[in-house]
């Protein structure tokens, strides 16, 4: 699979014409089909954008002369403590990411370069989490958080995800590709195992870290069910839950405002995605190849 890893960065480059020429051009019917599908795919989003940027009376009247407005966004922002929700989400994803990077790095290093009894069994135990994710263990984890007195805290949202089997697996694969000679050279220079990890392995795994970080941030920014269960105050709710609480209360809130709030809650991630599209796609790709 390593050949894929090497190839991955070239995927999004448009300048690999020599390769493409062998693939045969795509005929008109297929091009039309591809575009029809593309239009269908963006339609719900375009519709949401239209609704959010127009007064309610234009929400289903699509006339070009309809005046654009930011009123829905302003109303949404004032109708719920979105600033606090955003702060919570940012704190959540930062905390989870930092904890994950540390824990995952140490564990992946152990699995990649140390021999010790029980390694195979422990690795199998780690892999269990790939299938049985914290997402489905909500009942028991809720009980644990209650016992720990962590209910309704940001820490409780993040804690079950901090030791990430996916991250350990991904990074172990990368660490294994580091030439042993580099490792040995560092040891001869007098580096301790942890110094070797920091000076040799971590710098060489930078693309994997980036890939993992993007996947992790978008996962935890978007996570919903567990935060919904474990939080019940404004101080702990991430933006996804805040949005749901806001739009589920039957106070006759205008749908244009809800749409605006929806776009607002996704805004930062969506803008980051549009700006760093290539890195995102590459990262998701890299993270998926194992």
């Amino acid at each position: 699979m390593s050949s894929i890893l090497v190839d991955a960065p070239t995927v999004l480059r448009g300048d690999i014409a020599s390769r493409q020429s062998t693939r045969g051009s795509i005929n008109v019917i297929e091009t039309a089909a591809a575009w029809l599908l593309g239009i269908l795919w963006v339609l719900p989003l375009v519709y949401a954008l239209w609704k959010a940027f127009h007064a309610p009376e234009y929400s289903t009247r699509f006339v070009l002369s309809a005046p654009w407005t930011l009123a829905n966004f302003i109303n949404a922002w004032h109708a719920a403590p979105f600033a606090r929700y955003f702060l919570n989400t940012v704190m959540l994803v930062t905390m989870v990411l930092i904890a994950q990077l540390v824990l995952v790095t140490l564990a992946a290093y152990a699995f990649a370069r140390f021999r010790f009894p029980g390694r195979g069994l422990l690795f199998a135990l780690v892999l269990v989490q790939l299938m049985i994710m914290p997402d489905v263990l909500i009942v028991e984890n809720y009980r644990t958080m209650t016992l720990l007195g962590l209910k309704d805290t940001i820490l409780a949202i993040g804690l079950p995800y901090m030791a990430s089997a996916f991250g350990i697996f991904l990074l172990r694969q990368t660490f294994k590709t580091v030439p042993r000679e580099l490792d040995e050279a560092a040891r001869i220079e007098g580096c301790s195992p942890l110094q070797t990890l920091w000076k040799v392995y971590v710098p060489l795994a930078r693309p994997t870290y980036l890939a993992y970080a993007l996947v992790s941030v978008s996962y935890h920014w978007n996570n919903f069910l567990w935060p919904l269960i474990i939080t019940n105050s404004v101080e702990a709710r991430p933006v996804t839950v805040g949005l749901q609480v806001f739009s589920a209360t039957d106070q006759g809130i205008d749908w244009s405002i809800i749409t605006a709030a929806t776009l607002l809650s996704t805004g930062p991630l969506l803008i980051a995605f549009l700006l760093f599209q290539r890195q995102f796609v590459q990262s998701f790709m890299r993270a998926g190849i194992r």
Binding site: S3, I4, D7, T10, V11, Q20, S21, T22, R23, G24, I26, A34, L37, I39, W41, L43, P44, A48, K51, S59, V102, L106, A107, A110, F114, R115, P117, V126, V128, Q129, M131, I132, P134, V136, L137, I138, V139, E140, N141, R143, T144, A163, F224, L225, L243, Q244, S247, I258, T259, T262, S265, T266, L269, L270, F273, F280, M285, G288, I289, R290
Partner: protein
Amino acid sequence: MTRTKEWLYGWLLLLPAMALLVLFTHYPAVANLWHSFYSTPRGSRQAVFVGVDHYRQLADDPIFWQALSNNLWYALGTIPLSIALALMMAAWVNGRIAGRSVLRLAYFTPTILPMIAVANIWLFFYTPEYGLLEQFLRLFGVPTHNWLGSQSTALPAMMVVAVWKEAGFFMIFYLAAFQSMSPHLAEAAAIEGASRWYFFRRVTFPLLMPTTLFVLVNAVINAFRLVDHVVVMTRGGPDNATALLLYYIYEIGFRFWDSAYAAALTMVLLVLLGAAALAQFLFLERRTHYQ
């Protein structure tokens, strides 16, 4: 480094991650089984051992069976369709097509959005009378219909949302696989005069098999793991037509606060996911032999 020192290093490096994994993955999975044999403690009443009572209750619970069958239909309806679409999308944006990068962006964007935002957007899309879908269908004289409100169309409507969200995600993996394929294969096939369909069927598709299996496993997990859209769009209704297994667990556990019965329901989900894990394990074994 001496052997014992190496052992010690290995264990110590693993310790923090392992501790958290045990606490939030292994322990809950086991405790879940344990608690499913006890009653739910309520107020001053402590939990008492009830044996397999909850599993009997489960066997007689029509809503559980409906949630399970809904979930299986949901998996069956979304997985093949999103995989087929993903493959098609990847083939298109990998080839020479006008507006490649715009298309790729269009296909991939839903993946980035949170499911809850997606659900909100589609909620308006499906709105009776005013929604975009209704407006569009009215042009063709189709009578108005409450897509999420009627038994027969609610689950399929949810499936469409899931396919929309996931196909672009799976496309990425196929795109990566396409890129790793040698262009000489296509050249050779072209020289031999093989048709595109023949080439796909006999060369491309078999080569994509590992990717397809990987995507398949992910799709199965997601079909049982992701219920955010149910919470937002239908709350399992109408009349449990869109209740998926995890959503039902959420309802029992956190709306009716019957944690013991929810634990028994979770066991069913764990068994299903365990079966998927086993399938993947067997397949991974095969793949390593293959290489």
